[in-house]
């Protein structure tokens, strides 16, 4: 298992379009990808879960991955959350 911290930087948090990017990225990996916010786990491959998470700007998230490609997955997820959503 692998854990990494990510901070939401996009002005409007993670809603539909950003959530779509998060899910698309997570789905590229075989590992289980979870995002932990305020102690609750959300499946990063589920758009419904990610939208329910309702992360807003500056929220601190933990990316928890486990599986064959867990390291690559965690790195990619931090990147998409911190850099991929700013637009």
């Amino acid at each position: 298992m692998m854990e990494k911290k990510a901070i939401v930087k996009s002005e409007s948090g993670i809603h539909a379009r950003p959530a779509l990017s998060v899910v698309k990225e997570a789905s590229k990996f075989k590992s289980e990808v979870l995002i932990v916010k305020d102690g609750n786990e959300y499946n990063a491959k589920s758009i419904v879960a990610i939208m329910c998470m309702a992360a807003i700007k500056n929220d601190e998230l933990i990316i928890r991955t486990s599986g064959a490609d867990e390291e690559a997955a965690a790195v990619a997820m931090v990147k998409v959350i911190e850099e991929g959503l700013v637009k």
Binding site: A16, V23, S46, I47, C52
Partner: protein, 568 residues
């Protein structure tokens, strides 16, 4: 025959296609063979996914990838391991039928979104319902219509069309709209005019007599819908349709003419637009400028605030396409009936009297500054003018101008080159601004009378309420007096006075407004040629003489009769 409000000229003849909003009734039952029930669900799911992929391809091809995003989110939901997983579990573990399992999980999920106390998320609940409906319809063998998937020519019949519906309209397929609710200034009507499709709105419950595949004649000028006409009527309307096309072609000669009266007074005929896409029609119709660029569509078509760069790009595109002709860009007018999904606003008792337009911008200066910076930067690519909406007092105007000046100073220190003399104007749409227009005129370069709101506020009439829509009256003497006052006060201060509401394109009133001294008329691009025909065949001196007595009338019906009798 149905009679309602004709909002977009032209005659269409075609088959009705009814856009339903019915929810199929779901029965709860237990199944014996959950394996085959699961297979039935998985099949419907697969079919929905294929359908959606086709929709996405079509939308991307016709309307661009941005418009397809909403459907991509839908697709993502159908591939969602948790959402779909819980439905499948309900079928296998609890032996519920597929329809009930789907409906139950979808309702639970939608409820979570709805309770998130965030308008954006509340709308996502609608997305869940949307995809659920798609799968349910397949499970239950119900045929539905998605506007993006329409293959044959048809006339859309609906309660109302949402912006996401109209975004999918393909002009080659859709001949006209007929809607149950709405008025001249509703979103649907504005879109119909910009697409140049005939439309009749506000039909009321009578619309229900129309059935799928009925042959309809839609007369968007008279506001008439004829259902399954006899041969004589059909032939008659075919002839009128032909005449209309010829009339339109004949109008085209007005595209290149100046808007000058027979006695040599030149006014400006400008167009109202919502985005850079509309400019093509503006140029085709020979507008002398853009009198109103409503920037809110830039904000409404996104799911986040548009950045300075995005806005700058859009403004620059419009300015360059207009090639030096004036472009009046109105700063964000959001609130009232126009909401942003990603910018939650409190529920208000009276949204039209509430937190909107300049009020919001002066409060959320971060949003305002981003837009003003984009505007100032774009000013070096053409003749850009800035207009503030909903000004109700002098303080607001001064505050807005101060923020604009700060943006200019900032940009200058960043070394950005821009037009140092950007003209600044205000919308006159609140009665207090009209009454105070002598004072306000001294601090701006132009006025633009926004008749839609000015009428609504002056007459205290909610223009969306069908029960009282008869009170919403262009010809009300109070409205005409206010307009005259604003024009006179503007001219006394040496500034130009424009009008950018629907009234400016009303060919019966154009001679009156001309006589009042209005300098610029801004309207839907599709109304320009007609307006130019009226102006080039009018004499300013005569219009002045004829419009004079109008202010002494007390009854709008008298005014209408007077105009009919005296102004051709």
């Amino acid at each position: 025959m149905l009679k309602a409000i004709g909002v977009s000229y032209g005659i269409a003849i075609g088959k009705a296609l009814i856009i339903k909003e019915e929810v199929p009734e779901i029965k709860e039952s237990k199944v014996e063979d959950q394996v085959s029930e699961l297979a039935r669900f998985d099949n419907a799911l697969k079919q929905s996914i294929t359908e959606l992929q086709k929709v996405i391809e079509g939308v991307i091809e016709k309307l661009g990838s941005e418009k397809a995003e909403i459907f991509e989110a839908h697709l993502c939901m159908l591939e969602d391991p948790e959402f779909i997983g819980s439905i499948q579990k309900k079928i296998t573990d609890e032996k519920f039928n597929a329809e009930f399992s789907l409906q139950t999980v979808a309702t639970q999920t939608a409820t979570i979104f709805e309770n998130m106390d965030n308008e954006y998320m509340t709308e996502r609940a609608a997305d869940i319902r949307d995809v659920t409906k798609r799968v349910l319809n397949i499970l239950m063998g119900i045929k539905v219509v998605s506007i993006a998937e329409i293959q044959d020519e048809c006339i859309l019949v609906a309660k109302d069309l949402t912006p996401s519906d109209t975004a999918q309209i393909d002009k080659a397929k859709i001949l006209a709209f007929v809607t149950e609710i709405g008025g001249r200034t509703a979103h649907t009507s504005i879109i119909a005019r910009s697409l140049e499709l005939p439309a009749v709105v506000g039909v009321g419950s009578g619309i229900r007599v129309i059935k799928d595949d009925d042959i309809l004649i839609v007369d968007g000028e008279e506001g008439i819908i004829i259902i399954n006409p006899d041969e004589k009527t059909l032939a008659d309307y075919k002839k009128r349709q032909q005449e209309f096309i010829e009339f339109k072609n004949q109008l085209e000669k007005y595209a290149k003419m100046a808007s000058t009266t027979t006695d040599g007074k030149t006014v400006e005929l400008a167009a109202n637009i919502g985005s850079a896409v509309d400019v093509e029609s503006v140029i085709k119709n020979g507008a002398e400028g853009i009198g109103l660029f409503r920037t809110e569509f830039l904000y409404m078509s996104k799911d986040a605030l548009p950045t300075e760069e995005e806005q700058f790009g859009e403004y620059k595109t419009v300015l360059e396409a207009m090639n030096g002709k004036p472009v009046i860009i109105r700063t964000l007018d959001i609130g009232g009936d126009k909401k942003l999904t990603y910018l939650p606003m409190d529920e208000e008792m009276n949204p039209f009297l509430g937190y909107r337009a300049i009020r919001l911008c002066l409060d959320r200066t971060d949003i305002f500054v981003t837009q003003l910076r984009a505007l100032v930067r774009a000013s070096s690519y053409g003749k850009l003018k800035i207009m503030f909406p909903m000004i109700c007092n002098l303080q607001e105007l001064r505050m807005a101008k101060k923020i604009l000046e700060q943006c200019k100073t900032e940009l200058k220190s960043e070394g950005v080159v821009f037009d140092e003399n950007i003209e600044v104007g205000i919308m006159i749409e609140i009665p207090s601004a009209a009454v105070m227009s002598d004072i306000l005129a001294k601090e701006v370069d132009f006025f633009s009378i926004g008749t839609n709101d000015l009428i609504q506020y002056t007459l205290a009439v909610d223009r969306m309420n069908e029960k009282i829509s008869y009170l919403y009256d262009f010809y009300h003497p109070a409205v005409l007096r206010l307009i005259k006052t604003v024009i006179d006060n503007g001219h006394n201060a040496g500034i130009t006075v424009n009008m950018c509401g629907e009234m400016a394109g009303d060919t019966n009133l154009i001679p009156v407004l001309l006589g009042f001294g209005l300098d610029e008329f801004s309207m839907s691009a599709s109304s320009i040629l007609r307006a130019r025909k009226t102006i080039t065949s009018s004499s300013y001196e005569e219009c002045k003489k004829l419009s004079g007595p109008i202010l002494s009338f007390g009854d709008s019906d008298e005014i209408k009769e007077y105009i009919k009798a005296n102004i051709k």
